[in-house]
């Protein structure tokens, strides 16, 4: 169970303080899949980053009762001057997983072939997404934090990730930020709407999507 309580996040800006999140609370049980909805700048990515521990909240607590992936987002997670292989080796080491198993899985999932020995900075967004996703699936977390990344791949990647994450790993929790109502309705059972720093949980995803459309 993940328990998020009273998260407040302030950022310093040129014109004083900006409160990005203003007391967001919710819980996420094992196997639960929650959509995060909100307009651009509503704090979706910020919330995911706080949950993962990448950023610290100004106030509030996060209780992590299960293992959680790093934020699977467009950037981050890799050292871009190193090759895909070296990054994979590094990540296998810090998560204490046997390298050979990780490599076998990632190679099959990501289909990057010879690009695995090229520096990450030469990768396209889709290639990065495939590598990040493959790695996090290979490491096998209880909860996946996904920030938009699922929408960037081609249909083949989408199909594979659906199969791996939603069919083979049904029992994993998921937090998914996306603008695509189709994706969210397909995979999530409840939703958190972020608006003007506040967060509200809806157990009915269709209702949440309707409200989101009218924001």
């Amino acid at each position: 169970m993940i328990k998020v309580e009273g998260i407040i996040k302030d950022y310093r800006t040129e014109r004083g303080q900006h409160r990005a999140l203003d007391g967001v609370s919710f819980t996420l049980g094992r196997g639960e899949k929650i959509a995060i909805l909100g307009l651009n700048g509503a704090g979706k990515s910020t919330l995911i980053r706080i949950l993962s521990g990448l950023e610290l909240p100004t106030k509030g607590t996060v209780e992590r009762g299960m293992s959680m992936s790093w934020p699977l987002a467009m950037g981050g997670g890799f050292q871009s001057s190193l090759t895909g292989n070296d990054n994979m080796r590094f990540i296998a080491r810090i998560y204490n997983k046997p390298f050979d198993e990780i490599r076998a899985y990632v190679e099959a999932f990501s289909e990057l072939g010879k690009f695995m020995s090229e520096p990450i900075k030469t990768y396209s967004a889709g290639m990065r997404a495939r590598l990040a996703f493959g790695l996090s699936l290979a490491i096998d977390f209880d909860c996946y934090l996904i920030d938009e990344i699922i929408g960037v791949g081609d249909p083949r990647f989408q199909r594979k990730s659906t199969e791996e994450l939603f069919e083979k790993r049904k029992d994993r929790a998921l937090m998914l930020a996306s603008h695509s109502p189709y994706t969210l309705r397909e995979y999530c059972t409840k939703a958190l709407i972020l608006h003007r720093g506040r967060g509200k949980v809806f157990e009915d995803i269709d209702l949440a999507l309707e409200i989101y459309r009218d924001l």
Partner: protein, 258 residues
């Protein structure tokens, strides 16, 4: 619990050090050897030049040993601090993994510097010893103790500079002149004995002078007058270390992620 987190810490640090070696020296083994050869090349150049310019003895002490024991610890100090500057920014992507802390990023960089310096030291000394250019130290434990304090002092200064450099670019601007001023002020090439008595107390305010005096005292033995206080350098290094650790703990709050 403590053991488990120590194990994670060790694993993360190990992975970061390997990654550091990869980014700095590439994949081939010659890269790692380079860590040993680099100080020898520098030292040889300095030794040859100095010897040509100033003769074989300085104040009746063998110049090769003096330069070697002055140069390598200075290199250690300067490399550790300059590698610590902006040690976080290029690695922000790695912070996505919760077990990687800012301090780990700093630590992995300076650990590589210390290892390289020790390897270079041992290698260079061995070569010069076999060529009969340096003697075996009169008091090896004292040399090692002095070197240890040099590592600690450099580590402390590097941690403060590293943590602050992520907050303000001024640190890097100041570091350039300071690193040059350290050549005469660190104690690397000037023995406290040579400093006029009325200035000596000022000279000895610089903690690294004490480390250098210990190293020289250990190498040359009791025949040469040295000035050092172990409590003084230990106290200074401890205080600076505490400040550095505190700044790293705070750094995460000031870190702006893209």
């Amino acid at each position: 619990m403590l053991l488990a987190s120590l194990a994670i810490q060790r694993r993360v640090l190990g992975a970061l050090v390997l990654r550091e070696l990869q980014t700095r020296y590439g994949r081939d083994n010659i890269g790692f050897l380079w860590m040993m050869v680099e100080p020898l090349l520098f030292a040889t150049g300095v030794l040859v030049l100095w010897r040509m310019l100033r003769g074989a003895y300085d104040h009746n002490l063998p110049i090769i040993a003096l330069t070697l024991f002055g140069y390598l610890p200075l290199l250690l100090f300067r490399h550790m601090v300059s590698r610590a500057l902006y040690c976080i920014r290029p690695n922000v992507g790695l912070l996505y993994h919760r077990q990687v802390s800012l301090f780990d990023l700093f630590l992995s960089r300076v650990v590589v510097e210390v290892a390289g310096n020790i390897l270079g030291f041992v290698f260079t000394f061995t070569v010069l010893y076999m060529m009969d250019l340096v003697n075996w130290p009169a008091n090896l434990p004292l040399v090692l103790l002095g070197y240890f304090y040099m590592v600690w002092f450099s580590f402390a200064v590097a941690s403060v500079a590293g943590a602050l450099s992520e907050r303000s670019d001024l640190v890097e601007k100041f570091w350039t002149p300071i690193s040059y001023l350290m050549i005469p002020l660190s104690g690397a090439y000037i023995m406290a004995l040579w400093v006029p008595a009325r200035l000596r107390d000022w000279y000895l305010l610089m903690p690294s002078v004490h480390a250098y005096e210990m190293i020289r005292g250990g190498y040359f033995g009791d025949g040469v007058g040295t000035f050092w206080s172990q409590p003084y350098i230990a106290f200074c290094s401890a205080i600076i270390t505490v400040i550095g650790l505190y700044l790293f703990r705070e750094a995460r709050r000031h870190l702006v992620l893209e």
